[in-house]
Symmetry: C2
Subunit: 322 residues, 2 copies
């Protein structure tokens, strides 16, 4: 992906520092804090025409979704959010309605005990939110994307495909009028859930080797995880947790539902790598999680097994510089 190449060129600007546990390249930066705690820092851009359009989301939903996206990075590291900064770039015509954006933002922030402590507002030609979250994680317990070990089982939270399914349906002109399946897809597209509570419960019960926020899609994000960890990752198409609404859309369009699932960005689900002995326990937790694949020792890569085909996932998903 072009974004990955760009980011790896920028790595040279990261300087080692005694205060920094982990620099750029994961879902959050990690900074040493008190004995017992590390600080997590992440920032997300949510830009009109790129990450959202006004015909698909209300101002309140734009606020909610931007906040959820930023919180999801904290979840992926195994942490808890503490405070947020909000940079709002706002066109003249929306200034009087800015409270709708903040209503959405504070709805998701309140749900996860996050307080806005600052930010900036600038009048611009386009609407954009740039959100920074400071979170915390138990010292040296941050979960990274590069910790996958051969033999690990791969677990996904929630379900896959609804955000991309909704966009596909929209661009094919299928979203007019009430349809249960469009509604179900839109629900997750507009109000995704950062998996902070789920991750917290999982970490209390089982060992987690690695995690990543699949905000660009299972395809490319699993490849990033595989590459960072130096393993091959295999997923099974028939195990992916695909929502009924996505199955319905796929059959309507005569395409494979797994294809929608692996391409789907803005899921804000977590992909986790666990030791194989955790398999039984994770299924007993009564959380929305599912074992969908495994890692093995091989050339780094990410593949989906569909019947007896092995299909490369490394380029499936969203590229910020595309």
């Amino acid at each position: 992906m072009r974004e990955d190449q760009f980011l790896s060129e920028l790595q040279k600007y990261f300087k080692e520092s005694p205060r920094v546990v982990r620099g750029p390249g994961d879902d959050c930066g990690v900074v040493k804090s008190v004995p017992g705690k590390d600080i997590l820092l992440t920032t997300e851009s949510f830009i009109e025409g790129k990450h959202f359009t006004h015909d698909l989301l209300s101002l309140r939903e734009i606020g909610y979704k931007a906040g959820a996206a930023a919180l999801s990075d904290i979840a992926a590291m195994g942490g808890k959010p503490v405070v947020a900064l909000v940079n709002l770039n706002i066109p003249e015509k929306y200034i009087a309605r800015a409270s709708e954006i903040y209503d959405g933002l504070t709805e998701v922030f309140s749900r996860f005990c996050t307080t806005i402590v600052g930010g900036n507002t600038e009048k611009t030609d386009y609407l954009a939110l740039h959100i920074t979250i400071m979170g915390e994680v138990t010292r040296e317990r941050a979960i990274y994307r590069d910790g996958v070990k051969p033999g690990d089982i791969l677990v996904i939270t929630g379900d896959l495909g609804r955000p991309h399914g909704f966009l596909t349906a929209y661009y094919k002109g299928l979203t007019k009028g009430y349809k249960w399946w469009v509604n179900d897809m839109r629900d997750k597209f507009a109000r995704p859930t950062p998996r902070i509570e789920e991750m917290d419960k999982i970490l209390k019960e089982v060992e987690v080797h690695a995690a990543i926020d699949i905000s660009d899609g299972l395809g490319v994000d699993s490849f990033r995880m595989a590459k960072a960890s130096g393993v091959e990752m295999l997923f099974y198409a028939d195990r992916l947790p695909i929502n009924e609404s996505v199955k319905h859309l796929a059959s309507k369009l005569e395409i494979k539902d797994w294809f929608i699932a692996v391409e789907s960005g803005e899921e804000y689900e977590l992909l986790l790598a666990l030791p194989p002995e955790a398999a039984e326990k994770i299924e007993e937790l009564k959380l929305p999680v599912k074992i969908i694949g495994e890692a093995r020792e091989d050339k780094p890569g990410s593949y989906i097994i569909v019947d007896d085909m092995k299909i490369d996932l490394s380029k499936r998903g969203w590229d910020a510089l595309r």
Copy 2:
């Protein structure tokens, strides 16, 4: 100012939290951390066409200035920067030259021991940097803008007027060819100094009641400070530290130099309020600081005394929503 009205409406979205020492409304948010330290968080947007244009700054200078602007907020609170997050929105034509922006950013960050620990890159139609800095300050020693007391002396770091002077000269077509005074004005316009070291030295030697980063100009920012503190602030035109280059421009344009000085944004100087007994000590410190006025008990306001006139400063400067 329209920005101030907007921000005060947004105050209702700030929720009290046991972890938050100070929410929105100052140069940084302040969060409780270890015993002995508080965390400072600030974020700045630096947007093409609004905060900079390519005919006035190189890519490297854009990076440098954006970084300096964000660091200046940490200085105003009496803190030291630790790490930074950089959200880069970049047009296609600059992607191959992104390292020039990072060279400028890391130049100013390295100078103040700040490490980039994360960020985001998005391809957009315009260039914008959204920079977040996490800093630290000794527990309960953060300096706020609302602490000015009647009788305090008002002290400014550095000199005033060069950024606005440079822009004025540019728009009047006076910047072509080498001219010592244009060069001097451009120096500060392109490479301002966040006053982290000066503030650190001042805090070691004298008591500081309040401080503000006058990034929108002495006029409006002193008014914000006066309003937050509930005092009247008086400045003396003949005491303002105005650079020779600005005096030269003023005489050329047949305007008053103090007028350029109070309107000048992007100064990144600090305005400090000190008890009157600190007057002698602050002048002995051999730092670029000058006593330019005093605070007194009266209706909140900010004024400049020019000969025997008292001129309102509250609307002089930059308004982000104008």
